[in-house]
C-alpha cells in the first residue's frame, strides 16, 4: 500500500440513496462512509442485493446519491467520467466492434489530441497484451469466450488510465480456472500501474487474495459499511503459498464470520428464522423482497 501526501484520495461521505418505487422511496444505502488511499485495492463484499453495485455506481457517477457525496482528489463526483473507469458485471462490450475497436473507442475518447494515431495504436495493443488478448484482438465479442470478453473489458478500462478502477464482480461469471488466471493478472497489473481499485465480489478467497482492505456491508435495505478488515499480507501474493498463512486464514475467517454468523440471511441461518420468513407475508415485512433474495441465493449456489 503506498502512502501518499493526499490522504483523502477518494472519499465516500455519508452516502445514502433512495430509489423511487411505487410504494414510496426505497432506501438502499444509508450513510455509507469510506476513505480510500491512492493505489489501494479495496474489495466490497456483502450478500446479494445489499447494495454493492449501487455504491460502485455512485462512485462511477452513474447514480446520484440522495444524501452525502463522493469526493475524488478534492473534487465532488457528480457525473460519470473516464477517470473512474468501470468494468461492468457483464463485460458490456459493444457487440458490433472487435476487441481492438472496443478499446480504441475508449482510447480515442480519452487521448484525443494527446496521442498520435500511431501512439494510440501502440497503446491499445499494449493494453490488450496486458490481459493476454493480443492473439484475438480482431475478433468480435461473439467470437470469443466469456473470460476473454471480461479481459477485453478490463483492457478497455485500463487503457483509459483511470485514477480509480471500478470492478463490479469482474470474474463472477467465469469458471474457477479462468478466474484464478484473471485474478493473477489483475494483481500483476495493479502492482505495475498502482491504480486505486474498488472491486465488488462475492468470493471470500478472491477478496482476501487481492485486497489491501475488505469492506463488509450489512444487509439491505438501508445497507451500510458493517466492518472494514485490513489484510496484512505481503505482495506479490501467490495463491498457493497464501492458503497456509495464518494471516490469510484469519482474514478469511473474519469475513466468513461477518457474512454468515453476524449478518447471515435470516431465512438461511436457523430453522426458527425460516418459520419467521415463511410467515412474513402475513406481517408487515416486505415478503416480495425475501422471495427475490431467496431465489438469488439459490441461483448463486447452483
Amino acid at each position: 500500500m503506498t502512502t501518499s501526501n493526499h490522504p483523502d484520495h477518494l472519499l465516500i461521505s455519508q452516502v445514502s440513496i433512495d430509489f423511487p418505487t411505487p410504494k414510496g422511496p426505497f432506501r438502499a444505502l444509508d450513510k455509507v462512509n469510506l476513505r480510500i488511499e491512492k493505489g489501494e485495492f479495496v474489495s466490497i463484499i456483502g450478500h446479494s442485493g445489499c447494495g454493492k453495485s449501487t455504491v460502485l455506481n455512485i462512485v462511477a457517477g452513474l447514480y446520484q446519491a440522495t444524501e452525502g457525496g463522493v469526493i475524488l482528489d478534492g473534487r465532488e463526483v457528480n457525473e460519470p467520467g473516464p477517470e473512474r473507469a468501470v468494468v461492468f458485471q457483464n463485460h458490456s462490450l459493444l457487440p458490433w466492434l472487435t476487441a481492438y475497436e472496443n478499446v480504441e473507442l475508449a482510447v480515442k475518447q480519452v487521448f484525443k489530441g494527446k496521442k498520435s494515431r500511431a501512439e494510440m495504436k501502440e497503446w491499445i495493443e499494449h493494453n490488450l497484451t496486458l490481459v493476454h488478448m493480443d492473439h484475438a484482438m480482431h475478433k468480435r465479442p461473439d467470437e470469443i469466450s466469456g473470460g476473454m470478453k471480461q479481459r477485453v473489458g478490463i483492457a478497455r478500462a485500463l487503457a483509459m488510465e483511470p485514477q480509480v478502477l471500478l470492478l463490479d464482480e469482474p470474474f463472477g461469471a467465469l469458471d474457477a480456472l479462468t478466474r484464478a488466471h484473471l485474478q493473477d493478472s489483475m494483481m500483476e497489473i495493479q502492482s505495475t500501474l498502482g491504480n486505486t481499485v474498488i472491486m465488488i465480489t462475492h468470493d471470500v478467497d478472491e477478496a482476501v487474495l487481492l485486497s489491501d482492505r475488505i469492506v463488509m456491508m450489512t444487509n439491505g435495505p438501508a445497507a451500510t459499511v458493517g466492518e472494514i478488515l485490513d489484510v496484512n499480507l505481503p505482495r506479490p501474493r501467490n495463491r498457493v503459498e497464501m492458503a497456509e498463512m495464518p494471516e490469510y486464514i484469519r482474514c478469511r475467517h473474519a469475513v466468513l464470520q461477518f457474512l454468515y454468523e453476524r449478518h447471515g440471511r435470516k431465512e438461511a441461518s436457523t430453522p426458527k428464522a425460516k418459520v419467521a420468513a415463511a410467515s412474513a407475508d402475513e406481517e408487515s415485512e416486505p415478503a416480495k423482497g425475501n422471495v427475490v433474495t431467496m431465489s438469488k441465493v439459490t441461483a448463486k449456489a447452483a
Partner: protein
C-alpha cells in the same frame, strides 16, 4: 443436404406452384364474365407476350419519331440556317412496362424521402422522452389513417402549392410519392423509436463513462443497436407503400401500374381480364423483389451476419 431437405427446399415450392397453376387452368374457363371466360395461366402468358410486343412497337415508334424530327430539322436548317427548329418530345401512350417503371420510381422516391425524415425523427424520439411525448399523440392519431384518405388532401395541396412554369416533376408523380411518404412515415418512426429506446442499459452506461459526444453516441452505439428495428420498420413500410401506391394510382388516375389496371378494367376488351392478371402477378413479383432487396440491404448493414433473417 439429405433428400428430405432437398425435397423441402426445391421440390415442394415447385409442386405448390404447379398445383396452383393446374387448379387455375382447370377452374378459370368455368367462370364466364361479361368480358368472356376468366383466362387461365396459358392465356395470361399470351397476354404478357402481347404487352411485350406492344411495348417494343411503341419504342420503335418513338425512335422513328425522333429520327423524323431530326431529319426534318436538318433539312430546314440547310435551307435557312436562321430558321427556328422545334424539338418536340414524343408523347405516345405509356405502355405496361413504362407504367411498371413509373410505379417503381414513385414508390422508391416516397419511401426514401420518408426514410430520411422518419429515421432521424425516430432516433431523436427514442433518445429523448420529451420529444417522444410530443410526437406520440400525433403518431397514434395518424398511424391508423389509411393513406388513401390523405390522397384528396395531398392532391389539392400539391395543385395549390406546386406551381411552376417549368415543372421538373409531374404533379401526379408528386401526389403519388407524397402519399407513399405519408404511409411509410409511421411504421418507420415507431420501430426506430422502439429500437433506440431499448438500447441496453449497460451500453448506455459505457457511453456515459466514456463521455461520448451526442454524435459519437448515436453513431457508435445507437445506430448499430437499432439497425434491426429500423429495418423492420422500413420493410413494413415498403410493403404497405407498394400496396397503397397501386390503390392510389387507381383512385387518382396517376400514371403507374394502378392506372394500367384501371384503364384495362374500363376498357373492357376481351383481353382486359388477362392483362389485369398479368399486372397482378407483376405487382406481386415486384413487391417480393422490393422486400428481398431490403433484406439484402439489412444483411449488408447489420453487424451480426449470422442472424437468421427472413
Amino acid at each position: 443436404m439429405n433428400t428430405r431437405q432437398l425435397f423441402q427446399t426445391f421440390a415442394a415450392p415447385f409442386l405448390g406452384i404447379l398445383l396452383f397453376l393446374a387448379i387455375w387452368q382447370v377452374g378459370a374457363p368455368k367462370i364466364v364474365t361479361s368480358l368472356g371466360a376468366v383466362p387461365g395461366p396459358v392465356q395470361v402468358f399470351e397476354q404478357f407476350e402481347g404487352l411485350l410486343t406492344e411495348h417494343q412497337a411503341a419504342r420503335q415508334k418513338e425512335v422513328d419519331f425522333y429520327q423524323r424530327q431530326q431529319e426534318r430539322n436538318t433539312e430546314t436548317l440547310k435551307e435557312d440556317p436562321n430558321a427556328e427548329v422545334s424539338i418536340r418530345p414524343y408523347t405516345g401512350k405509356a405502355t405496361f412496362f413504362d407504367q411498371i417503371l413509373t410505379s417503381i420510381v414513385t414508390v422508391m422516391t416516397g419511401f426514401v424521402l420518408a426514410g430520411f425524415i422518419a429515421i432521424p425523427l425516430g432516433i431523436v424520439a427514442g433518445l429523448s422522452q420529451t420529444v417522444y411525448s410530443a410526437l406520440n399523440p400525433l403518431i397514434q392519431l395518424f398511424k391508423p389513417v389509411s393513406p388513401l384518405a390523405w390522397l384528396p388532401i395531398v392532391t389539392m395541396i400539391v395543385s395549390a402549392v406546386y406551381v411552376t412554369d417549368n415543372p421538373a416533376f409531374d404533379k401526379s408523380f408528386i401526389t403519388s410519392a407524397l402519399t407513399v411518404l405519408l404511409c411509410c412515415l409511421w411504421p418507420t418512426i415507431i420501430n426506430t423509436t422502439v429500437g433506440v429506446a431499448n438500447i441496453s442499459k449497460d451500453l448506455q452506461n459505457v457511453s456515459k463513462v466514456l463521455r461520448l459526444s451526442w454524435w459519437t453516441h448515436v453513431r457508435k452505439i445507437v445506430l448499430p443497436s437499432a439497425i434491426p428495428m429500423i429495418f423492420t420498420g422500413l420493410r413494413l413500410s415498403l410493403g404497405i407503400a407498394w400496396m397503397v401506391l397501386i390503390a392510389a394510382e387507381m383512385l387518382a388516375q396517376n400514371p403507374g401500374l394502378g392506372k394500367f389496371v384501371w384503364d384495362e378494367f374500363q376498357n373492357g376488351s376481351s383481353n382486359s381480364l388477362g392483362r389485369i392478371m398479368v399486372a397482378v402477378i407483376v405487382i406481386g413479383l415486384i413487391g417480393f423483389a422490393l422486400d428481398r432487396g431490403m433484406l439484402f440491404l439489412q444483411r449488408h448493414f447489420s453487424w451480426d451476419k449470422s442472424l437468421a433473417l427472413r
